[in-house]
Every structure is written in C-alpha cells, then in structure tokens.
C-alpha cells in the first residue's frame, strides 16, 4: 500500500508512519462521541495533536478557530467545552475539524453521519462538500446508504463479502447499476417522490464471511443467478482505465474489457 508515491506503508518505520497519518491521511470514525477524550477540553485535545506532530501551539489554535468557523461552530464555546457538553452533531463536526487540523490530503470517513439527526446530517454533508472544494481534499466516504453520498462523491465502489463487485462514476452507477447487488441496494431506497412500486427488498441475509457460498458470494441472494454463478467466482472486469468495472458473470462476455 503506497500513499502519494511514497514507500510501501508496511516497510516504513513507526516514526514515518506516524508522520503520514493525520498529516497526510486522516480519519473520521463512526461514533464521534467515542473518539474524543471525555476528560479533556476540546482545546487540550487540539494541543495534544499539535505537540505530537511538532506544530506551534498558537498556529494550531489559529487553524482550529478557522476550522470551527467553517464547521459553523462557536469556537469560543466549543474549544473550552468538554465533549459531553456538545450535541452529537457538534461532536461529529469537531472530529471532522480535528481530522482536518494538519491539512491532510486524504480523509477517510467511516459512516460519519449515521448517528446524526437528519438536519445535522445535512449540515455535516454540506460542510464536507464545501471543505472538499476549498481545501482540495480527497475524501473516502464509507457508508451502507448510497443515498447519503450521491451529492458528495465522484466515484463509487460497491463491496460485497470483502470484494469489489462494482465501481464507476457515481451518476453512472446510480442511473445504470450493473451488478444485481448494486441494483438491489438502489431498489431498497424508497423514493421521496414518484413511483413507490419500484422499491423492492433485497432477498436473504448479508453474507456470512465464515461460510461463504461456493462461486459468486452473492449468488444465493441474486435474482439473476445461473449455473456458472454457483461454480466460479467472477473476476472484476474493468474498462475506462480501471474507472468503471463490474464483477458479475452476466457481463463476462462483454468484449473489449481489460481483465484486471
């Protein structure tokens, strides 16, 4: 695994790895309330990061204040607060601000809005979209709900049972999903307007990783499975320089695709 053309992450020394994380690659975790130290004021947690990464305290506080502004947080109140004094949405915005503190190039967000109310979720998504543009950031957004990301991301990777089953530009995948799993995921989002009859449930239970079925891991839930799906796991076929691809026997005969 290489970040930004640097050495293989696993060959790096502990010290090099520590420089990479947070300074270049930062992460926002699923349950924001659990990532903040309950015993320290937010201000102290910012200083801890600054100290660990040899940043001037004053400089760290200044960028923290700027980030609070971007996040619609009252810096005066929030920086002096303990985590329990903030609402769920505020804590989530604080942890995004902390992730951005050292100006990383890549931020990984694991279900950053799942624990939030609709309006807080909308505010966090709007902020992420703004920050992404203003800071020229790359975001990796991990979620189980495709509807959350369609307004934010450029490209989507759909995973099932540990493998990539489909990838492509978000608009293409949403309008023309190819893998039956992606089709099922999209059909299980009830529309806000228009025809509800196209909403369908995805059959069966999520794959049990200890007892994966032979062949394609999805075939037992797949409405279009045929004999080959039970025997052979499909490979991810990609085209368009690896930007779009699908791992499904239904498309295996398509010619002109590179086999990854």
């Amino acid at each position: 695994m290489r970040y930004f053309g640097q050495d293989n992450l696993y060959d790096m020394s502990y010290d090099q790895q520590r420089r990479l994380f947070w300074e270049k690659v930062a992460m926002v975790f699923q349950a924001a309330q659990n990532t903040l130290n309950p015993l320290l004021r937010i201000r102290q947690q910012i200083l801890d990061i600054a100290q660990d990464h040899d940043i001037d305290f004053q400089q760290a506080m200044n960028s923290a204040k700027q980030l609070c502004e971007i996040m619609y947080l009252d810096s005066e109140r929030v920086l002096n607060a303990y985590p329990h004094e903030l609402s769920g949405g505020m804590k989530q915005r604080v942890s995004i601000a902390l992730a951005l503190l050292l100006n990383p190039s890549l931020v990984v967000l694991d279900e950053p809005t799942t624990a939030l109310d609709v309006i807080s979720q909308a505010s966090v998504l709007r902020i992420l979209n703004d920050v992404r543009k203003s800071h020229n950031l790359s975001l990796i957004f991990i979620t189980h709900d495709i509807s959350v990301i369609s307004e934010i991301v450029d490209r989507i990777i759909v995973m099932y049972a540990g493998r990539i089953v489909e990838t492509g530009p978000v608009r293409d995948v949403i309008l023309h999903p190819r893998h039956p799993y992606t089709q099922g995921l999209l059909a299980s989002i009830p529309p806000l307007r228009g025809n509800l009859s196209r909403t369908r449930a995805l059959r069966g239970q999520p794959a049990d990783l200890l007892h994966l079925p032979h062949g394609c891991a999805f075939h037992e839930r797949c409405p279009r499975a045929f004999s080959r799906c039970r025997q052979e796991a499909p490979r991810l076929l990609t085209d368009d320089h690896g930007q779009t691809g699908v791992a499904c026997h239904l498309y295996a005969s398509d010619s002109g695709e590179n086999v990854l």
């Binding site: 619609y72 004094e85 609402s87 949405g89 505020m90 109310d117 609709v118 309006i119 807080s120 979720q121 909308a122 505010s123 998504l125 189980h144 709900d145 495709i146 509807s147 959350v148 990301i149 369609s150 307004e151 978000v170 608009r171 949403i174 309008l175 023309h176 999903p177 089709q183 099922g184 995921l185 999209l186 059909a187 299980s188 989002i189 009830p190 529309p191 806000l192 307007r193 228009g194 025809n195 509800l196 196209r198 909403t199 369908r200 449930a201 995805l202 059959r203 239970q205 999520p206």
Partner: protein, 337 residues
Amino acid sequence: MIQVINVSKSFLVKTTSSHAASGRIVQAVRDVSLSWNKGEFFAIVGESGCGKTTLGRLLAGHLLPTGGEIQYNGVSMSTTKRPHHRHLARLVQLIPQDPYAALNPVRKIRGLMRDPITYHRIANNRQADELAENLLQMVGLSAKDVIGKYPHQLSGGQRQRLVIARALTVEPQYLIADEAVSMVDVSLRIGIMDSLKEISRQRQLGLLFITHDFRVARYIAQGGSIAVMYLGQIVEQGPTEEILGAPLHPYTQSLISAVPILEGVEARNQTVVPSRYEISTQNLAQGCSFANRCPFADQLCKNKAPSLLPSTSPHHLVACHHAEPRELVVDVAEPAS
C-alpha cells in the same frame, strides 16, 4: 378508534448540571390532538427530542398524560381501574426502538415469545409454542432455527423481526413502531417494513410508525397520513403525498430538504435551510416554537403562537403564520432495473 385529546406530558428533570437547573420541567408533548382508526397507516416524523417517542409511549399506555386524555374506543385509560389496563395494554402494542435492549439476554426465544401469551392467558404452554412458531414464520424467521436460541445469537435484522412477532402475540389491534428500522442495514429495511405492512393489512391493524426519515415515513404511510412534530407539538399533518409534494410548514420543508437525494433519480427544486442546525428552546416564552430557527420568521411569529388549522385542504393541517406550499424534491428519472 383511538382519540388523543389535548394531550400533554411533562417530565421533572432532577439532574443538576451547568445547563439545567434542578427541578426543571420538560414539556415533551404539548397539547397534541389526533385520531387514529383501525386499519389506518400513520407516520410521525421529527428530529430527536421532538417528543415523538413520548407520544408513542402515551398511546401505548406506558405513560399517563399530565394533561388531556387518550380514549380507546371511547374509554379513557386514565379513568379506568387497574384490572382494565391489562385489556387496554393488549389493544395497543409498542415495537421498541432498540431490539438489542428490548430482549432479555438470558432467556431463549421460546420463553420470550411465551411470556406475553401466558401472562394475558391467551393460550396454554403447548398452544403458546404453536402460536409463537406461526408468528415467527409470519415475520420471516425460521421458527425451528431460532426458537431454541438466545437473543445474542440473532443478527440485528432478525431481532427486529423477533420484537415484531412478540408484539403480535397478544393479538393487538394497533401497532406502534418506534424507529423500528433505524438500527438495521439499509438493504434489510424494506424487507422488514414489507412484513409489517403486510401483517397490518391482513389483520386490519392500525400501524403508527415513528421515524426521523421521510423516505421510511412515505413508504409506510403510503395512502395514509403523516404528522410532523416539533418540540412536542404537531406542526403539520396531512395525507402522505401532500406532505411530500406540497409541504406547508417551514420545519417540514427543512426536514425534507435535509434528506440526501439520489442525484440523477431525484432532483432538488428548492431548499429550505433552518437558520440554526440544533434544536433550541431559547427565547421560546411565547410565539411559534420554530421561530428561532425559521428562515421566514418575523415579529408576528415571535409574539403569537400559531394554532394547527386546516389549510389547502380540510385534511391538511398546519400551524404556521406564513404557510406556503413549496415543492422541494422532484422525481426526474426512472432508474434502470
């Protein structure tokens, strides 16, 4: 029919912290009136803290109102004698929000299903097992696989189905589902909602679904109605398609605007953004409770609280001085199947 007449519920918050003075009274539900018929599908939508769970618990008889009354086929829960409660409790069943907390971890599924049946003397032990197995099958669980298991051996989706089956053991006429799918993966939600809808339709049950998600509310209350709650009050209520197609209250409009849309399949026509992201009770002594977050609020809203009145149609009620229909999201394409 269940009738809620000017119901209020307040709690005394005893904790002392820097924000809440000791002995502060929280009004979770304020002056709510509605009626709910057998066989009617109904959704209540609102943010956390809006009182929707408290309203659900009042309807299920778990809490008694501090003001007003709830009548079940004309009988009020608060005036009936204790033994009669058992009968009313059977009438309305609450499906709890968190299927992890709702099941006793040291009891097997057989016992969990049998308890309500024997408590309400619906059947003897042998018949109870048979009834339990039928209900488990009905909600889509394989009875012979799960009946000898403990709750921790089931997945989240299975537990959610189990608490639905358990609510059905006492043959209720009304079901209240409190955020029944919010803990379940998106891919499994529709399956659970379909079972709930089908069972309610077959048995002619009234189904009340409490949720913060307009997509879920619309899917459940298809052809029924939606009520939107804010800080303990119903601010808008009407037929499902009218609420989504032409919402009148700025709060309803901000909730719908906050739903992430599937770009390409749906498109935003316009958005209403509240001027503050967090629910707030500041400066709420008089006037509209949404005034301090409302983008359209003026002096009138700060001085005088609007009442819930019919508007564009007799069944579409709204509590707002500046109610104006706004179409927020439109359907743009038929997605490929």
